[in-house]
Structure formats: C-alpha cells, structure tokens
Amino acid sequence: MVTPTARGIWFRLTIVAAALVFSGGVAAVAYCIVTAPPPSHPAASPLQSVAPSPGVPWFVDVTAASGIGFRHFDPATPQHNILETIGSGLGWIDYDNDGWLDLFCVQDGPLRPAPDGGPLPTNKLYRNNGDGTFTDVTEAVGLARAGFGMGCAVGDFDNDGFDDLAVTYWRGVVLYHNEPDGHGGRRFVDVTAKSGLHDPHWATSCGWGDVDGDGFLDLYVCNYAEVDLAKYPHCEHGPKKIPFSCPPWFFPAVSHRLFRNRGDGTFDDVSKAAGIAAASPAPGLGVVLTDLDGDGRIDIYVANDLRPAYLFHNQGGGRFVEKALFSGCALGSNGENIAGMGVGAGDVDDSGRPSLFVTNFHAVPNVLYINAGHLLFHYWTHRSGLGAPSIDRLGFGTVFCDVDLDGRLDLAVANGHVSRNAAEVYGAPFAQEAQLFLGQGAGRFRDVSAEAGAYFREPRVGRGLAWADYDNDGRPDLAFSHNGGPIALLHNRTETAHGWLRLELVGDGKKSNRNAIGARVEIETTAGRQVRFLNGGGSYLSASERRLLVGLGPARRAERVTVRWPSGREQTFHNLEGGRWWRLREAEALPEAVEPQPPPKSR
C-alpha cells in the first residue's frame, strides 16, 4: 500500500495548495497589495451568446430607450478618499400605486462642494410610463435633494398603503413620507426631523422590518466608519508612492443604528436597548432582514467590511443577541475576515430556510452560507459553484430572483473594484463584468454570464443592484448602478415557456406590517414546492421590488400558496392560476386578481 508520505513533493504541495483553494482561500489577500501587472482576462468563452436562445437567460440593456438619464457623480479626489469608492444605490418603488414600478436613483456629489460651484446633482425619481419609458419627476414629487447620498430602503412605515422612502447619506439619514400632492398625484415630504431619525455617521445600506412585532416597520441603518476630512490619512503604495484609497481599518468604526417605529410617525433610537450597540462596531455595508431560524421573528444579518458579519438574533420584544461568529456565518472557511459588501437571503437548497450570500473583495470568493437550521450555517461557497467564478471580481450589489422562471432562485452580482488605480495597486481591473448564475437546486449554481447578454460582458464599476418586473411581463428585470457612471436597466427577454405568479402580499396593518416584510410563502405546484421570503433590505445600498415573482417551471398554476404572515397567522390560498398577479390580503380568504392598467399619461 502506498502511504501518504511516500508520494512526490508535487502532490504533497498540491494537496496543501488545493486544499487552500478549495476551502476558500486566504483572507489576507483582501486589501493585500501586489505588484503584479493587471491580469489578463481569460480568453473569450466559446459559449458567449450574441442572441437569445430558448431557456437561456437573456437581458438587453434598454437604458437609453427607457429615458432614464441618470448618471452617478464621480467624486474622485487626488487623495483617493475612501468615500468616493462606495458608490450609490437605487431602489424600485411604486410611489403612486399604479402597479408600475418607478426607479429612484441615489446621487452623491463633491466631497467639498465649492461655494459658487453651481447646482449640485441630486437624487432622481423616474416614473414608469408603463410603455418601457420613464419620466423624471424628481422636482414634482419633492425629491430633489443634494448631498453625499449612499443607499435607500422602500417601505410603508405608517401603514397608509403608500410606500415611503429612507435615504442614507454620509452623515445622515433622510426619511420621506409619501403623501397626496393635492392634485391627484403623490409627493414626498421630508419628515426626518419630526420622525426623530438621527444618525450623524456615515450611513450606508438600510432596511425595513418589524423587529418588535407591533405591526409597524422599524429601520436598521448600517454605519461604515468615521472619516474626518480635515485629518484624512494618506495611503501610498510601493516605492513610487502611488496614492490609493485607504483600507477600512484606517478609520474607527461606529455602531449601527436600529430605529423603532412608535407607530405615530416618530422613531426611537433603540440601538442600545435592542442590543445592536453591544456588538463590536464594524464597517457595515449590506443588511438583510429575514427570519433565519423560522421562529416567526425577523432577524438581522449585516455584511461588514473586513470584520466579522453580524447576525442579530431576534429574542422577541425588540431585543437582539449577536450570534454570527458561532453560527458560522461571520467569517470565511478558514476563519478569515470577509470584505462583506452586499447580501442576499433566499432558499437556494430547497430546505425551506433562507441561506445567506455575501459579496467579497477581489482575489477572494464571494461567500454562500447554507442555512442548516437552528441558526447554524455551513460555508458552501465552493460546493455551490459560486466560488471560483468570483475570485477575479470584487462584488457589490447582489439579488436572488428567478430569471428563467424554472422555480429555482438565480443570482445576479454587480462587480467593480474600489480603487480607480486598482490595476497599479492591486493588479486588478477597476471596471469588471457583472455576473449571472442560474440556480440548479441543492445549493448549486451555474455561471451563465457569457450567455446572458452584452451587459454581462462589459466591464463596469458596478455597485448597486435591484430587481423588479418593471414592465409587468412576468420576468424579473435588473437595474445596476455604477460608480461615476450611468445606471443600466436590463430588460429580461428570456425565451421560456415556464409559468409564473406574481404575489403581492398585503399585511393587515395591525399585527402585521402592511408590506408583509418578514412573511414566509410556500408555493406548491405539480412540479414541486418552493419557499420564498419577503425580506427587508438586501443587496447593496439598493431596494428591489417587494412583490414576489415566482417561477412555476412547467406548472401552469399553484395548487396551494401558504403564507405565514409576520403576525404569525398562517393562511392558505388554493388554485392560483399562473401568468397572473395575485394580491393576497391577510385574513381575507380569497385572493384578488390584479390587472395592471396603463398609467395615466401625466399627473
């Protein structure tokens, strides 16, 4: 018998090396500076598609035709300030309840605006005209606000049936209440001051969720770090002293914030009382609110940049205990830190539990944690097929959605380096291609980026990412934001015979929040069972559509749809015909079929 020690050195070395590669690699390479020239990309794959083929996801960049002219401001500074690396997000919101998702784009600006520098760029809201085009309504609805904007979260915090908007900034959070404009339309009113929302720090991603079960949405806000422009550190690389963006540990981290909704339009900062502030301060970038252990209470998972992630386990009564480290979802496979950016949560292994996906730095893989139940997670990155394709990318926004409607969640990722001189400093490209992975079931994915349309082959400096079926054709579309560039609206033109259902959940607005964030939905068809979660937050600085778009595969209808509402009430709806939009109201026995009407031409 051949013993392990009798083999040649090649193989013994290979074992160690391959074990490292296989197990997820080496945290130290994140933010590790190399002197190598930028790597060339692998040769073009013969699988690259230039036209759609049946069953293969296909996205077309329709930004120009849509009329969305938003361009993110590039706040580049000679010092490569870390603030300029973060980018800004975007959010889908049906602000006028006409059934057509509108797009809100967050804007930043110059770090030190000149006093007489002219008008500063502002956030923008684009109203969906229902015909594939959008109209800029920013001024009309009162959202023209300049500042160093970061992210947004969409939620109906006062349960009045209209979605409101939280927007994060470097040094602040702004809350907009969606109100009638007096002319049959809607407008947003800045209610930050009277709401009591106050966060003086660098707020990034935020997410809504009813953490205390009182029927009103509360708001979690990630904070990144304290950056003092007057004492900004100078980071240089190599003998040529090339300036580059300082890594996050150069700046003190600050605690994140949890704001409890009192139900009267005001909020209390309960960060300390709820146990959020007890966690070691860390640079937070992504947050998702979902019930991770199936106890009926919404938990909070936060991706932190080169610090352990947070898993705030909801104890009830608005109290949380941070448990990520020993739940196995705080670090990489070797226990190394993850440069956590965006997050997603969804059932990718047909377990009925939400697993967690976190995007990561260049040269280390994105991370998939499979939810094994009882608040225990297993590192699944390489087993999933998501590891190797992400090694040469720096991931930011990410969404789970079923792009080919086969009944399995797929995954999209926005990529782009943090440093505009990444080639010199990190040996990596600044602009990078976004990626699309098809869910195969059992926690496995297949990279179809080369086949999914031209956008996925164009290097961009990707940041935010949110999905929505903006044209109500039953296929999820994608919107990407780019640092210092225009957004990209991708229309899903996948040719498929698969069925689908749109499920709009409406909580009772008393024990459940009206948005039904925190609901668990089980869909049973002749083709099988799938479980979907209505999460708060997710992705990176961005907000996706809240209506669930469920692929049915070969099935034509759902035999049963069982909703566990945030209140704990369980309700089953029967025989929901596919290809339709169903509104499911808590405590109402019958679902309502919704027919989207073309929106009025103007308001």
Partner: protein, 328 residues
C-alpha cells in the same frame, strides 16, 4: 540528428545545461521539430526555472507530437506550479484551467497514468468541476482500490457534491492507515460538525492543531465552532478571539508604516476580548496621549468601564467621546 545536436543533448543529460543551452538552440534552428532536442531544452529550462521559455518549448513539442503524453504532462506540472505561485484571481484561474486541459489530454493519451489522474482530480476540485472530478476519481479508484490518497481525493469530491456519508466512510478507512494525515483529519472533523456531531469533531481538530502545518489555522476556526456547538462556551470564545486577533494582525500588517489610531483602538478591543485588559488599557492610554479627543478610544473605554461597574468613569469617557458618544 547532427553531431552538434547529439553533443548538446549529452551535455544536457550530464547536467551541464549552461553549456548545452546555446548548442541546443543552434541545433533546433536546423532541426526545429527534433524531439530529443526539444525534450533536452525543455527539461533544462524547467530545471533552471526559465518557466516562460519552458512553456513555449513544451507548447511547440505538443504541437509537433500531439500524440505524445510527456510534453502535456510536463506542461501541466509547470502551469499548475505557476498557478500556485500566482495571486488568487483571474491569472491563477486561467493557469489552472490550462493545467487541467493538459492533464485531461494526458489521460486521453495514457489512460493508466494514475499520478496525472490524481492531479486532474485536484485541479477539478480547485476550479469547481466536481462532477468531472468524481468521474475521474472513481475511474482510477477502480484501478487502485486500496490507495489512501485516492480515498482522500474521493472524500473531498464527495463532500463537494454533498455525499457526506460516503466521504466519512472513505476518511475512516484513510485515517486508519494514516492517522496523522492532517487534511484528512480536518475534513473528517468538518463532516462530523456539519452532521451535527460537534463532540466527534473536537478531538480530530485538536489533533490537526497539534500537528501544526497548513491546516492548523482552518482547524482552529472550526474548533471554536465545534466547541461552541458542544457547549464549551468559554474555550470557544478564547479560540475565536485568537482567530480574530490573527485576522486583524494579518489584515492590517504594513511593515514600516505608522499604525493609525483606529488600528490601535481595534487591537485594544481584541485584547479586551482575549482577557488582556491591562495591555488594552495601556494601549488606549497611549492613543489618548497622542490625540486626547479620539472618540473611538473614549467609546471603547466607556464600554469597558460600564461592563466593570465603573459608571462614573464610563460616563466621563462617553462625554469626551463627543455629542454622539453616548448613543454608541
């Protein structure tokens, strides 16, 4: 082959590649597809670590003799070794893919090449081609059913494909013959942990840690998880604190550079969590000596004094942290 070429090959075979190389090149100008010359030059270039040139010569050899396994085998090893030296990223991946393609070609040409089969399985694992790894590994285990290495490879493949019970069976057999084989112990421990048997994982992980070596770091992390799951909370925290401290030192290492105050505050925080409060307090005092208003240091001190029942001191530091310090 001309006499000069024969002389060049002879010199190379005697280990005198410095003398042989120019002669080999001259001879190849006259006889560019001569396999003996190409082999001698390629091996010499590999020995002298002229790897780019070696790759070019091997590629030419492959083109001249596409039915010969040897140049593909040599090029696979060369590219795989280059991949290991490359930083993780696109270039490493590209080299691994190229090495794998060579390995697959070798197996087409020499299906009894067990050594190359093992390398192909490893490369497939690294790239994430688990089904292919499974096929190759099973085929070669049929030929060598008692090879513990192939058991280990198959166990990794099974783990990657979710066949954990089969993986455990293979590892049991492997560890019976090689009880100190750290990668096998580690994988076995992870499988036990994932199956909910943390108690069984703990002794295996302790053995890996005692062995030291490349698996040590990963084993320590998994030990902290297993200890926590088995209810040994205090030891789990201590081990996890070590993991975090190592992460921090590795992530922030910048030889020759002055550490930022934020780094020093974070180190103090990790020292607190490791029970080394005296060192942490000294470090924070040094930070405040440099910048008496440094809010992060005051906030950390406020937390520390709060936890130790010294509310007056805590309040003072919170006040000095600034107007928002009290809310942290």
């Amino acid at each position: 082959m001309r006499r000069a070429g024969q002389e060049a090959v002879r010199l190379a075979q005697q280990g005198r590649f410095i003398d042989a190389e120019p002669k080999l090149r001259v001879a190849l100008e006259h006889d560019p597809n001569n396999i003996e010359l190409l082999r001698a030059l390629a091996l010499g270039l590999l020995d002298t670590e002229k790897l780019d040139e070696a790759d070019r010569v091997l590629t030419h050899w492959c083109a001249v003799r596409p039915e010969d396994a040897e140049p593909y085998r040599l090029r696979m090893d060369l590219r795989h070794n280059s991949a290991q030296r490359a930083k993780p990223g696109a270039e490493r991946q590209r080299l691994q893919e190229l090495a794998l393609a060579d390995g697959q070609r070798v197996l087409e040409l020499a299906s009894n090449d067990d050594s190359t089969a093992q390398k192909v399985v490893w490369l497939c694992l690294g790239i994430g081609r688990f089904d292919e790894a499974d096929q190759v590994c099973r085929r070669y285990r049929e030929r060598q059913p008692d090879d513990p290495w192939l058991d280990y490879l198959q166990a990794r493949v099974c783990h990657a494909r979710g066949a954990n019970a089969e993986a455990l069976g293979l590892l049991d057999r492997l560890l019976a013959s090689a009880p100190q084989f750290a990668p096998g112990l580690l994988l076995c421990a992870i499988l036990h942990y994932e199956a909910g048997n943390a108690d069984q994982a703990i002794p295996l992980l302790r053995r890996v840690i005692a062995e030291g070596g490349a698996s040590h770091k990963e084993a320590r992390y998994h030990l902290s998880l297993a200890l926590a799951r088995a209810g040994h909370t205090e030891e789990a925290r201590r081990v996890m604190a070590e993991v975090q401290r190592d992460n921090f030192e590795r992530d922030t290492a910048r030889p020759g550079e002055t550490e930022s105050l934020a780094v020093r505050v974070r180190r103090a925080e990790l020292l607190f969590s490791s029970g080394r409060a005296d060192e942490a307090l000294a470090s924070l005092q040094a930070v405040l000596a440099e910048d008496p208003g440094y809010a992060a240091a005051h906030r950390l001190l406020a937390t520390y004094y709060d936890e130790h029942g010294q509310s007056a001191k805590a309040a003072e530091h919170r006040r000095r942290a600034g107007p928002d310090g009290g809310k942290e």
